[in-house]
C-alpha cells in the first residue's frame, strides 16, 4: 500500500452565516491514484477542495500534505506544496497565447525580457509526455473548450504540481473529449502523479477512478475501492436512498403531429445563420430530444419557437395552426408549457413569493377575480395545490422563491408549466444543476405527460438525459440539425458524439421533416 499524499482529518467548515458545509470530514488520497470525490450539489465537495487548495480556511481539523501539516493562506502556498487545481470555470486570459497563459505569474526572464523560447520548449516537453495535444502558439479565444481544459492541466504541471484537483472536468466535454481527457489522466498516474476528480457523473467514476469517496450533507458517507462497488451502490450512497425505477413508457402508434418546424432560419445579433434550415416534427405522445454541445444554435432555436426572437424564414405549426412569429403573450394562451433554460433569470422570479410564481399563467382567468381585485382564496388554493401535487418542499407559498433549493425552484417551474396539461412541452435543460432526487422526479413528470399524450421538445446538453427521455433524437451542430435518429438499443453515446462534434452527418431524407 502506498502512502497518503493528502490527509484531511476531522475537517469542519462553518460559514459566517451558519451554513455547515463540512462536518468532521476524514479524507485521504494515496500517491499515484485517481480518487473520485462524488456527491450531489451542496454535499460539500467544492468546499472541501477549496480548503485543500487554500481558497478557504477550515474552521477546524487538520490538513496534511506529504505527511506535513499545512495551513495554506492562499493558492500560492498550495501550489508551492505541489498541488494544482483545474476549476470548472477556466481562468485563462482569452487574448493571450497558450504559452503566455501557462507561464503567467511564473515567467522565465532573460534580463528584462520574457524568455518565451525556453518556456515553450519546456511546455512542449510536458505536453508530449502526457498526450496533451495543444498548439502552443494559438490564442486562447481561438481554442475549443476541450483544448482550453488541456491548457489548464498543462499549467498545473508546468507550475510543478504533483497532485491535481479537477472540478467537474467533463461537464463541458463531449464523450470523445472525455475519453481523451481520461487517457491523459491515466498517463499522469502511471508516471506517479495523483488525481482528485470531483464529479457527479457516476459512470465516469466507475470507468476511470481507483478509489471513490462519497459525500452527502457535508459528511463522508464512505470511501471504497472502485472495483468493489457498482454504479447503483454509489448512487444509493449519494442520494441516501434507492432510486425508483423510471416510469414505463406507453407505446403509441399513428398519433397526430402536434408540432412541426419547417425550414427554420434564425439569426442572432452576432451572426446570421444561428439556426440554419432546421425542420422536424413531433407527434402526440412523443419526446423529441435535441442533443448538442452548448452554443450550437439550441438557444436561438428555442428563442424563435417561444416568441423571444424573430424568425428569418421558415414556418412553425402547432396543432395544424401556423404560429410563426406570434408574440409571447399570444403563445402563452395556447396549450404550450415552456420550461426555460435558465430558471434563475427567466423561469422564476426569485424575489417574488412562491405563490406569485406559480400563478403566472393562470392569474388572468376570470376564476381568479374578486371584483377588481385578485381572489385571494382561489390564489392560495391554486398555489397550495401545486405545492402539494408536485412535492415542492417549502413551509409556505408566501416565502420568496429564493428561499428554496435549486431543485425545488425547478420543481415549481415544472409544476407551473405542466399542471395545466399542455399539448406541447418545450423543456430546455430541465434538470441542470439540480439534485438527483429532483432529476428523477422531473424526468418522471415529463414521461407522465408524454404518456398522457403530450408532445415534448427536449433540449439538453446532458446526453444521459437525452437518452433517458427521448423517443427520437435530433443532433444539432453549428445551427443545423445534422441527423435525426430513433432512440433504440443500437444508439450509443459515442455515435451521438460524432454527430454533435460535426464529424458525421446523416444523408438528408424525408423522415427528417
Amino acid at each position: 500500500m502506498s502512502e497518503n499524499v493528502i490527509e484531511m482529518q476531522n475537517v469542519y467548515k462553518i460559514y459566517p452565516n451558519g451554513t455547515v458545509a463540512n462536518k468532521g470530514i476524514n479524507f485521504s488520497v494515496r500517491a499515484g491514484e485517481i480518487h473520485a470525490l462524488v456527491g450531489e450539489n451542496g454535499a460539500g465537495k467544492s468546499t472541501l477542495m477549496k480548503m485543500l487548495f487554500g481558497l478557504e480556511r477550515p474552521t477546524g481539523g487538520s490538513i496534511k500534505v506529504n505527511g506535513r501539516e499545512v495551513r495554506f493562506k492562499s493558492p500560492k502556498d498550495a501550489m508551492a506544496a505541489g498541488l494544482g487545481m483545474v476549476h470548472q470555470e477556466f481562468m485563462l486570459v482569452p487574448s493571450f497565447t497558450v504559452v503566455e497563459n501557462v507561464a503567467l505569474g511564473n515567467e522565465l526572464v532573460k534580463g528584462i525580457i520574457c524568455d518565451r523560447k525556453t518556456e515553450r520548449k519546456k511546455m512542449q516537453k510536458i505536453a508530449e509526455e502526457f498526450g496533451l495535444e495543444i498548439d502552443l502558439n494559438s490564442r486562447i479565444y481561438q481554442l475549443p473548450i476541450g483544448v482550453k481544459q488541456r491548457v489548464e492541466i498543462l499549467k498545473t504541471l508546468y507550475n510543478g504540481a504533483k497532485t491535481i484537483i479537477l472540478d467537474e472536468p467533463t461537464a463541458v466535454l463531449t464523450p470523445q473529449e472525455t475519453e481523451e481527457l481520461f487517457q491523459s489522466l491515466r498517463m499522469l498516474v502511471a508516471k506517479g502523479y495523483t488525481i482528485i476528480l470531483i464529479t457527479h457523473k457516476i459512470q465516469e467514476v466507475v470507468s476511470v477512478s481507483d478509489r471513490v469517496t462519497v459525500l452527502r450533507d457535508g459528511a463522508v458517507i464512505r470511501t471504497m475501492d472502485t472495483r468493489d462497488t457498482t454504479q447503483e451502490e454509489i448512487s444509493t450512497l449519494m442520494v441516501g436512498r434507492k432510486l425508483s425505477p423510471p416510469i414505463a413508457r406507453k407505446q403509441f402508434s399513428d398519433m397526430e403531429t402536434v408540432f412541426a418546424v419547417k425550414g427554420l432560419n434564425v439569426s442572432n445579433r452576432r451572426k446570421a445563420g444561428a439556426v440554419k434550415d432546421v425542420s422536424f416534427s413531433i407527434r402526440a405522445g412523443e419526446v423529441f430530444g435535441i442533443a448538442g454541445v452548448d452554443g450550437n444554435g439550441q438557444t436561438e432555436l428555442i428563442a424563435a419557437l417561444t416568441g423571444f426572437a424573430p424568425v428569418n424564414s421558415g414556418e412553425v405549426y402547432f396543432q395544424g395552426r401556423k404560429i410563426t412569429n406570434m408574440t409571447i403573450a399570444d403563445l402563452r394562451d395556447l396549450s404550450i408549457g415552456y420550461i426555460p433554460e435558465d430558471r434563475n433569470t427567466m423561469g422564476a422570479s426569485l424575489d417574488s413569493s412562491i405563490g406569485e410564481n406559480l400563478v403566472l399563467n393562470v392569474l388572468k382567468r376570470k376564476s381568479f377575480s374578486w371584483g377588481p381585485l385578485i381572489d385571494q382564496k382561489a390564489f392560495s388554493a391554486y398555489s397550495d395545490k401545486l405545492i402539494r401535487n408536485f412535492e415542492i418542499k417549502t413551509d409556505s407559498r408566501k416565502l420568496p422563491m429564493r428561499s428554496m433549493s435549486g431543485g425545488n425552484v425547478q420543481k415549481a417551474v415544472v409544476a407551473r408549466e405542466l399542471s395545466e396539461d399542455p399539448k406541447l412541452i418545450i423543456a430546455c435543460q430541465p434538470t441542470r444543476g439540480v439534485d438527483i432526487a429532483s432529476i428523477e422526479y422531473i424526468h418522471n413528470k415529463i414521461i407522465e405527460q408524454r404518456n398522457a399524450g403530450a408532445a415534448v421538445l427536449l433540449v439538453s446538453t446532458e446526453l444521459t438525459e437525452i437518452l433517458a427521455l427521448s423517443d427520437r433524437i435530433g443532433m444539432m451542430y453549428n445551427g443545423e440539425l445534422v441527423a435525426v435518429v430513433n432512440n433504440d438499443e443500437a444508439l450509443t453515446e459515442n455515435e451521438i458524439g460524432l454527430y454533435i462534434l460535426g464529424l458525421k452527418r446523416q444523408e438528408r431524407s424525408d423522415d427528417l421533416a
Binding site: F308, T345, M346, G347, D351, S352, L373
Partner: protein, 365 residues
C-alpha cells in the same frame, strides 16, 4: 432563568417577523441619525436644550402645531406613494417635482378660469385637471421610455426644469395677480373651492384624508390586483414577466401615468389646502422628499404614511426650532440626509444591482 431566555428569544423571533431586516435597518438609521443630530445641536447651539425641546416636544404642544404636522405630511405621503408606484414597477421617476407643479398649475387654472358651474362640479373639475395634468406630464417620459427606450431618469429630471421655469415665466407675465401685488403668484382662489379643516374640534386640513385614501387605494392596487401583480413582477424580474406574456410597455405607461396622476393630485391638494394661490416655486425640493419617503418605507404605500407623518413631525419641529433658536429649519433636511445616507448605501446598491441585471438580460434576449 431558562424561562426568561426562551421568552426573550420568542419575543425576538416575533419582532423579527414583524420587522424584517430592511425595516430594522431603517429604524436603526432613524435613531442613529437623530443621535447624530442632537450631537450637532450641542456643538452649534448656545441653548441646546431649548433647541431639542423645540424640535421634539413642542410640535405636540399646541393643536396648531399638531395640525401643522399633518399638513406637512400630506404632500410627503402623496409624493411618497407616487414614487412607490414607479419603484415597485422597476422604474425611476425623478420627475415628481415637475408633475406636482404641472398638476397644481392645471388645477389653479381650472379654479380661476372655469366659471359658472355649481361648486361641487367646479371642485371636481379642479382635481380632474390636476390629475390629468400630472399624468400627461409624466407620460411624456413614460412614452419615451416605452417606445424609444430613453433613460427615464434623465428625461424626468429635465422635464422638472421645463415645468418649473415655464410656469415661472407665465406667472410673472400673463397670469400674474391682476390686483397689483408684488408677489409672483396668481390671484387668490375662490374660498368655496379650498380644502377646509376636518371639523372645528379637529383642526386638521382635509388634505390628509385624501392622502390616506390614496395610500390605501394604491396599496390595494399594487398588492391585491392583477394589474398590480404584473407591475410588481416587472419590477422584480423583467425577463420573467416577459416570459409570462406580460406587456412590458403597458406596465411602463401604467406606472408613469399613475405616479404622475398622484403627484398632480398632490399639487392641487397643496394649493387648495395650504396656499390658496399658486405662487412661484411654492414647494421646491418636495419631489425629492417624496422619493425619500418611499425609500424609507421600502416602497410600501402603507408604510409611506408612517414615514410621511414622521417627517411632517420633524419638519414642524425644525420650524419651531428656527423660531426659538438660531438654528435654521434646514436642520430637518440635514437629519433627512443622514438617514438617507445610512439606508441608501445598502438599499440602493441592491436596487441598482437588480436594475443592471435586468438590463443585461434584456440585451441578451
Amino acid at each position: 432563568m431558562k424561562k426568561t431566555v426562551s421568552m426573550r428569544s420568542k419575543i425576538w423571533a416575533v419582532l423579527k417577523k414583524v420587522f424584517n431586516d430592511d425595516l430594522l435597518s431603517v429604524l436603526f438609521a432613524v435613531v442613529f441619525s437623530l443621535i447624530i443630530g442632537c450631537g450637532l445641536i450641542f456643538i452649534i447651539s448656545d441653548e441646546p436644550w431649548r433647541a431639542i425641546e423645540s424640535l421634539f416636544v413642542l410640535p405636540f404642544k399646541t393643536s396648531y402645531q399638531v395640525s401643522n404636522i399633518f399638513s406637512k405630511a400630506t404632500p410627503l405621503i402623496l409624493l411618497g406613494v407616487s414614487a412607490s408606484v414607479t419603484f415597485q414597477s422597476g422604474y425611476f421617476n425623478m420627475g415628481a417635482q415637475g408633475q406636482f407643479y404641472v398638476g397644481a398649475f392645471a388645477g389653479t387654472m381650472a379654479a380661476i378660469y372655469v366659471t359658472g358651474l355649481p361648486v361641487w362640479l367646479h371642485i371636481a373639475i379642479v382635481y380632474l385637471a390636476a390629475v390629468a395634468g400630472g399624468m400627461l406630464y409624466a407620460l411624456i417620459a413614460g412614452v419615451l421610455r416605452a417606445y424609444l427606450n430613453t433613460n427615464e431618469v434623465v428625461v424626468t429630471l429635465m422635464l422638472n426644469y421645463i415645468a418649473t421655469n415655464l410656469i415661472a415665466g407665465l406667472l410673472s407675465g400673463w397670469l400674474r395677480d391682476p390686483s397689483g401685488s408684488t408677489a409672483v403668484r396668481t390671484q387668490y382662489l375662490d374660498e368655496s373651492l379650498l380644502l377646509s379643516d376636518i371639523s372645528a374640534a379637529i383642526p386638521i386640513n382635509k388634505g390628509i384624508l385624501i392622502a390616506l385614501a390614496v395610500a390605501a387605494a394604491v396599496y390595494f392596487f399594487m398588492f391585491k390586483s392583477k394589474s398590480g401583480y404584473r407591475q410588481r413582477l416587472v419590477g422584480k424580474n423583467m425577463l420573467f414577466a416577459r416570459y409570462g406574456g406580460i406587456n412590458i410597455n403597458r406596465t411602463i405607461l401604467i406606472s408613469f401615468g399613475l405616479a404622475g396622476a398622484i403627484a398632480g393630485l398632490s399639487g392641487a391638494v397643496e394649493i387648495l389646502g395650504v396656499h390658496g394661490t399658486y405662487f412661484n416655486d411654492f414647494a421646491s425640493a418636495i419631489g425629492g422628499d417624496g422619493l425619500i419617503m418611499s425609500l424609507l418605507a421600502g416602497f410600501n404605500p402603507l408604510l409611506v404614511v408612517i414615514s410621511g407623518l414622521f417627517f411632517g413631525y420633524l419638519k414642524t419641529g425644525a420650524q419651531i426650532m428656527q423660531q426659538n433658536t438660531a438654528i435654521t429649519r434646514d436642520f430637518a433636511a440635514l437629519i433627512q440626509t443622514i438617514i438617507i445616507m445610512l439606508i441608501s448605501s445598502r438599499m440602493l446598491a441592491a436596487y441598482f444591482n437588480k436594475r443592471r441585471l435586468n438590463k443585461e438580460v434584456k440585451e441578451l434576449v
